[in-house]
């Protein structure tokens, strides 16, 4: 039914995925390739990913990063993926340009937090969370190419399942990946 590369492949392509400052919408869109997931499972195996729940990434072929960089933990995760992956793909609007979380970038982050957590109606008074377990927020939300080198960009909010399938299979089969109208979308 679907084209799958010849079975002479020596080993499966190892893929790591993560969602930084994203909404997991891009991962949901990856699942939207539906029954092609079975074909994908023939071609790839997953390292660190919400799909496997592996916490730290080992050497892999492709790292797929959803979401921008909004806190210190995002920076560590992103650098670990870059250090381990041969090819790093920015998946979705947030990874590509910061996306909707970056709409706070023209505001002061301290004021944002104060407004959100302390300016509440009577009886709901709170304070800005300060638990040391919480990752430190950065003053700006960054596209991931401002933190590490990025090999490929797939825009979209989220990119459609078809676009992700096209891009992934291009990459896995060794073609230069390309998205054109109508698969190339920013919304």
């Amino acid at each position: 039914m679907f084209h799958v590369a010849p079975t002479t492949r020596k080993r499966k392509v190892r893929i790591a995925t993560t969602s930084l400052s994203g909404c997991f919408g891009c991962h949901m869109s990856l699942l939207d390739i539906d029954e092609r997931l079975l074909a994908l499972a023939e071609l790839v195996e997953f390292d660190r990913s919400p799909i496997t729940d592996i916490k730290h990434c080992g050497p892999c072929d492709i790292a797929i990063v959803e979401g921008g960089v909004c806190n210190a933990e995002n920076v560590h995760v992103l650098r670990e993926l870059r250090a381990n992956a041969k090819v790093l793909v920015a998946l979705g609007a947030c990874a590509v340009n910061g996306g909707l979380p970056a709409q706070r970038n023209h505001l002061d982050v301290g004021e944002c937090l104060t407004r959100v957590y302390t300016h509440r109606s009577e009886g709901m008074k709170g304070s800005v969370p300060s638990d040391p377990e919480l990752p430190l927020l950065l003053d700006k939300v960054h596209p991931i190419n401002e933190v590490v080198r990025v090999d490929y960009f797939v825009p979209g909010c989220p990119p459609s399942g078809d676009a992700i399938w096209k891009y992934l299979t291009d990459l896995i089969d060794g073609r230069i990946p390309r998205l054109e109208h109508p698969m190339l979308r920013f919304d």
Partner: protein
């Protein structure tokens, strides 16, 4: 000798009438040249530089250079399209172009050109401008953060509506569109929803209110057809 005149666009002969610009002649003949600040009803502006072509080896704006017999024009080349992509990237980072949250998405010429020229990343450091919205007018909203300063609203208000509601102020990187009223607010002008200037913005800066998602995302102008395909089809229909 033939009874009409032609120039060569990417090796193909294009017929033109005396007085036409290269862009006008190319569009009329169904050959798309990317453009953003151009509008057939207004005098050329030549500011966005998206239509930059090479005429006999020299750079020029297709919207301002007059077509002449025998010109050799190149437009659809990797070099020129690469330059266009860089111009688009700079436009994207200078403003706040968050397509997923913009109600113009799908009808936006800036976005459509980025699709057409396969701009995958804005690449440069974002400015994240912080310009206040003007929601004072009952029927029209202005988000100055999305303005690309094509001056189409300025031209439409001045030349068609006869109202002179908008103007460009500041210089260089500080250039911006302002509203001509003592308060600087749109509500204090005679601007109306029926004005040409209310519907001419190629991006999501000037938006009529209460129609935002009447046409759903996915069914909009450039969701269905690429901007180049549309322009070429329009030429065929007019011919």
């Amino acid at each position: 000798m033939s009874d009409y005149e032609t120039f060569l666009l990417d090796g193909r002969p294009v017929r033109f009438e005396r007085g036409q610009t290269i862009l006008e002649a190319a569009l009329a003949a169904g050959h798309y040249i990317p453009n953003l600040c151009h509008h057939p009803e207004f005098k050329p502006h030549g500011s966005c530089k998206l239509c930059t072509i090479k005429v006999n080896g020299r750079y020029g704006s297709a919207c301002t250079v007059k077509a002449m017999p025998g010109q050799e024009v190149s437009s659809d080349t990797p070099e020129l399209n690469g330059n266009r992509r860089v111009l688009l990237q700079m436009l994207f980072v200078e403003g706040s172009h968050f397509c997923p949250g913009c109600e113009k998405s799908g009808n936006c010429a800036l976005q459509a050109l980025a699709y057409d020229l396969e701009m995958l990343t804005p690449h440069y450091a974002h400015f994240y401008p912080s310009r206040p919205l003007d929601a004072s007018h009952p029927d029209v909203l202005i988000d100055f953060n999305r303005c690309i300063m094509c001056e189409l609203c300025v031209r439409a208000s001045r030349e068609v509506d006869g109202k002179n509601v908008f103007a460009l102020a500041g210089r260089g990187v500080a250039s911006h569109v302002v509203v001509n009223s003592p308060s600087g607010k749109l509500a204090d002008t005679d601007f109306a929803l029926t004005d040409k200037a209310a519907h001419i913005c190629p991006v999501g800066a000037i938006l009529p209110k209460r129609v935002g998602f009447a046409v759903p995302i996915g069914s909009r102008t450039y969701d269905v057809d690429a901007i180049s395909t549309l322009a070429e089809r329009r030429a065929t229909e007019e011919a």
